[in-house]
């Protein structure tokens, strides 16, 4: 053997007489597929551990001891292996396996949703025997049983491949479905009265190789051959999961996850998957509306735009504000920034609602990608919301990294999260003191451990000792009841860790695109400050404008003549409901640009411009890594609704300015021309990144500076509020999705059981929660995952919203809990 051969980094396998080079350790089924030979399969799924359940992938393998049938999904390639996927023996095995699988299969393909895209159907045609010798009675089960509010299971069709159950257990960690009984009675099922209520249940429907699992939103809606599809980007949260959008007769009917290696690996949260229902909902705005005698009434575009123009013309730029924009495509965001900053001359633009982070914390710190966060052997420090609730697909990626790839997770969160059971270290600081904990953790790394934020020194030291490999901080707002400055201070402390990168956990759809397009005070497109200017803008504001909270305060004081709500609902989403109400009431003209009417629009908008939905426009989105990917138009806009960029262009025109934008493509060209970070953004690059997207890196934004604020101590009678998001809430989009709306749990006040005794209360008691700002009533619930001294109330849950208790100007919110 020569030296060169010794260094050979691949494994040579003879596949059907042809030598191929495979990667060491690669499974035979994958190596064959990469080289153009598709071995039929049912149970194998490239993103899950192989189990060898179905035997469909049997091929003849000779590893030196003569040919034998082996399951290619369980066999790693070996040097000198000879494989025959077309031999007589292989064919006979395939025939046999299919004949066995079809013994109990009902063959009700004509009424099965999977018909036409069914691996069992396809592989039977391609590899099967054509005829069955089985004449006995097939196994019978009650036809589909609901195993959750969304998913139905038809056990007769199931071929027991273990894909759904493996997904639930290994990938999602929600082991709520399992094989039950054995032998001929083996079936997938749930425990009685414990439905498959997983945020990720839709994935099992997508990966089931037969029609055993079906999801309510798509059942009996279409046949696969009637569907048209296009690759696009999910818009519900900021992960930017890649999806296939499928439609029939101009209606979106289904979303499937696409396996993008850098993003979602084919998985979706149910919220991303089924969120399209909102776009088809009856509540969609189909035409502009104007308030007449206190009621919103339909009107035409001409009068609506004229009214909007009248409201905006000749107004002091300082008295105009724009709140929202995370729903928009990058192109629409650019057009709106150009309108607001370049034409109207106001810098009062904020795509976040006071529930996010300042620009410096997102664009001013070294960034990390999802794949970097998931580096085997690396460390993830979570300072932010529960990814399981806010960013489903990111949760699945992080979970995989921790469970399978030795990534260490250290949580610095106010309560237990969906990752706590697998976290190496779960440290729960007193709400409002995560900055102190972060600083203590950094000091502990250099050997100086101390108690901080109610967490003992030895726990901090143990966490510090566990830090290894590249470190990624997942950074977001864990609770809207504490000010953003506290999270920022924590980030500043953690930025001292060697080689650390930050992955933003801002949750809202295209909020990162909004920042890249300049939709924040002091910012211009291309991650540059106002002072850099923008060649394509006629003018650029000189003074840094107001953020959402400041705009609402100004409006409340009568200092805003026009407030534009760009797909935003401050009443429900801003941390301070009282301020939002006063702001909306005090603003001069409130113009909403909306797909669906929300609480703020319904009560306060004077004018509503109907916007087209994400599947109805062409454009791009930017995810939490800064990755840009295409969002294709699949159907035509609802009614006369228009793309947001068109609305901006039209308004500009009526105000005597020309945005100079004709199409999303022309806007992209302008972005590439003016933005230093988008210089490489070409149509060709986007087309190449059809699946993986295009990562936009670099930034001219300075790192944040410490706030220097300190959190006040609370008195012995009060509890400190934690207000976090839940996956299913009272959000407008979710509530307009027929099959998800009912999943939102009504509001509860969750305390550590130890605090019950102190307060003399029990779980289930309805209590009154009182803060300096307001009060709400809700039943009590017990959870050891909430530290003593804290009260957890979800933000925007049906019933009452925790934001009624919060004062946006205070750094933390203390509440008293009393028997109602």
């Amino acid at each position: 053997m020569t030296a060169v051969e010794n260094e050979k980094s691949t494994v040579t396998v003879t596949l059907n007489g042809v030598e191929i080079e495979a990667n060491p350790g690669e499974l035979l089924i994958d190596a064959a597929e990469r080289h153009g030979t598709y071995i039929p399969r049912f149970c194998y799924h490239s993103r899950m551990k192989p189990v060898g359940m179905c035997r469909m992938c049997l091929v003849e393998v000779d590893s030196g001891r003569g040919p034998a049938l082996q399951p290619s999904c369980m066999i790693p390639v070996g040097e000198g292996m000879t494989v025959d996927t077309e031999s007589e023996a292989t064919k006979k095995a395939q025939d046999g396996v299919l004949e066995f699988l079809l013994i109990n299969h009902p063959l009700d393909c004509p009424v099965c949703d999977k018909g036409g895209e069914c691996p069992l159907q396809d592989q039977t045609v391609a590899f099967g025997p054509g005829e069955s010798r089985f004449v006995e009675e097939k196994r019978h089960y009650e036809k589909p049983i609901p195993i959750s509010d969304t998913v139905y299971l038809d056990r007769e069709r199931c071929i027991l491949c273990d894909r759904c159950t493996r997904f639930a257990d290994d990938v999602a960690g929600d082991t709520l479905i399992h094989f039950m009984d054995r032998g001929n009675s083996t079936q997938v099922n749930t425990f009685p009265d414990e439905p498959f209520a997983s945020y990720f249940s839709g994935n099992t429907v997508q990966i089931c190789p037969v029609g055993a699992l079906t999801a309510k939103p798509y059942r009996f809606k279409a046949r696969p051959w009637d569907l048209e599809e296009t690759i696009s980007t999910a818009w519900i949260d900021s992960v930017g999961s890649r999806v296939t959008v499928q439609s029939s007769r101009n209606q979106v009917l289904r979303l499937l996850g696409v396996d993008a290696d850098s993003v979602n690996w084919g998985w979706l949260s149910d919220k991303e998957r089924f969120g399209f229902e909102a776009l088809n909902s009856e509540d969609r705005l189909t035409a502009p509306m104007v308030r007449v005698d206190g009621r919103l009434e339909s009107t035409g575009w001409a009068p609506a735009l004229a009214a909007a123009t009248d409201a905006l013309r000749d107004v002091d730029p300082a008295r105009i504000g724009v709140i929202g924009g995370a729903r928009l495509t990058n192109e629409s965001q650019y057009a709106w920034t150009k309108l607001a900053k370049g034409v109207l001359g106001t810098d009062n633009v904020d795509a976040q609602l006071g529930d996010g982070l300042p620009v410096e914390a997102v664009l001013g710190l070294p960034r990390a990608t999802i794949n970097q966060a998931c580096t085997p052997g690396g460390t993830v420090i979570l300072v932010g919301p529960d990814p399981k609730e806010d960013l489903g697909a990111l949760f699945l990626r992080l979970r995989h990294a921790v469970v399978n790839d030795g990534t260490t997770l250290i949580e610095l969160t106010p309560t237990r999260t969906g990752l706590s059971t697998i976290a190496g270290h779960s440290l729960h600081p007193k709400p409002g003191e995560v900055d102190l904990l972060a600083a203590a953790l950094v000091d502990a790394v250099s050997g100086d451990a101390r108690d901080a934020a109610g967490v003992p020194a030895d726990a901090i030291a143990a966490a510090a000792a566990a830090i290894s490999g590249p470190v990624t901080v997942v950074l977001g707002r864990a609770s809207i009841a504490e000010s953003a400055a506290i999270t920022v201070d924590a980030a500043i402390a953690l930025s001292q860790l060697e080689g650390v990168g930050f992955l933003s956990a801002l949750r809202r759809g295209n909020v990162h695109g909004a920042l890249d397009m300049g939709m924040a005070p002091g910012l211009l497109p291309g991650r540059v400050p106002l002072s850099t200017g923008c060649d394509a803008f006629d003018q650029v504001p000189t003074e840094t404008g107001m953020d959402t909270i400041a705009m609402l305060e100004a409006a409340a004081a009568g200092d805003l003549d026009v407030l534009v709500l760009l797909g935003s609902d401050p009443l429900s989403d801003a941390p301070d409901a009282d301020l939002a109400e006063r702001g909306l009431a005090g603003a001069g003209t409130v113009i909403a640009v909306e797909m669906l009417p929300n609480a703020s629009t319904l009560t306060h908008a004077d004018l509503v411009l109907a916007a087209a939905a994400p599947t109805e426009v062409e454009g791009t989105f930017t995810n939490l890594e800064g990755r840009m990917s295409v969002a294709e138009q699949k159907v035509t806009p609802s009614g006369t609704s228009r793309a947001d960029w068109m609305i901006a262009a039209e308004l500009a025109l009526r105000l005597g300015a020309d945005l100079g934008v004709e199409s999303p493509e022309s806007i992209r060209a302008e972005i590439a021309a003016v933005s230093p970070v988008h210089a490489e953004l070409t149509e060709a690059a986007l087309a190449d990144g059809r699946v993986e997207g295009v990562l936009i890196s670099g930034s001219s934004i300075q790192a944040p500076t410490a706030s220097g604020s300190s959190t006040p101590a609370n008195d012995a009678y009060s509890l400190r509020l934690v207000a976090a998001r839940r996956m299913y809430d009272n959000g407008t989009m979710l509530q307009a999705s027929a099959s998800s709306a009912g999943l939102a749990a009504s509001v509860k006040v969750t305390l550590n059981p130890a605090d019950f005794e102190k307060l003399g209360l029990d779980a289930g008691t309805v209590v009154k929660v009182i803060s300096g700002r307001g009060e709400l009533m809700a039943p009590l619930a017990a959870d050891f995952g909430v530290p003593t001294g804290s009260a957890m109330i979800p933000a925007n849950a049906p019933g009452s919203n925790a934001n009624t208790l919060i004062d946006a100007s205070a750094s933390v919110t203390d509440v008293r809990v009393e028997r109602a």
Binding site: H178, M180, F191, D193, E194
Partner: protein, 209 residues
């Protein structure tokens, strides 16, 4: 709400402590649950899930693989009639039909007085003595229908003293007290070779083992 009574809960904790992974205690805990109530209730499975950091679906999925765990109440005497090949050839099915007729229930059912449950089972490994059955896991071999009538009559009148009246229970209760355990560690945490391996080596080398 605890399903296990105080004694059994203590035993449950002891059982769990024997395993490096809590989940490994599933089967002994299912036995314990069945011992307490005669069958494995949903509440029992919920508590086992809690005790072992698993889900009730996992507990039921694991338990329901085993025929000897019952997920519904069974009679004081459980008659398992074999109808597998050898027994079938020698009258197992007739035996079953006779039992069904005599007791007025179908296989799988329990008499109204809670006395008998009949089950139709696969080979119970006594083919040479076919047709055969088990009552509370005690073998009755080479049975005729008359023998069966006699057996039922004996049981009814308290003459079948060789058969304990415990329905589903096994013969022995496996119980290793915590201090007598071998102290097994999880494979990924093992730093030394397991004790028993060292013992084997000693035997192989002809030393005292």
């Amino acid at each position: 709400m605890s399903y296990f009574n105080a004694d059994n809960l203590e035993t449950a904790h002891e059982i769990i402590s024997r395993y490096p992974r809590k989940k490994s205690a599933l089967i002994p805990l299912l036995h314990l649950a069945q011992e307490q109530e005669g069958w494995v209730t949903d509440d029992a499975m919920r508590q086992i899930a809690e005790l072992t950091d698993t889900t009730p679906a996992e507990v039921k999925g694991t338990g329901s693989f085993y025929e000897m765990f019952k997920f519904h109440p069974v009679g004081t005497y459980m008659i398992n009639v074999c109808t597998n090949l050898a027994c079938q050839l020698l009258g197992g099915e007739e035996l079953l039909a006779h039992a069904e007729e005599t007791l007025g229930i179908k296989a799988g059912g329990t008499t109204a007085d809670g006395m008998f449950t009949i089950e139709d089972v696969e080979c119970i490994a006594a083919c040479t003595e076919a047709p055969c059955l088990q009552v509370n896991y005690r073998y009755k071999l080479r049975l005729t229908t008359d023998d069966l009538d006699q057996l039922i009559d004996d049981i009814r009148n308290g003459r079948a003293t060789d058969i304990p009246e415990h329905g589903t229970l096994g013969l022995v209760r496996q119980h290793v007290p915590a201090d007598a355990g071998a102290g097994i560690v999880a494979p990924e945490q093992a730093t030394e070779r397991p004790v028993w391996l060292a013992r084997n080596d000693a035997v192989a080398e002809g030393g005292e083992g």
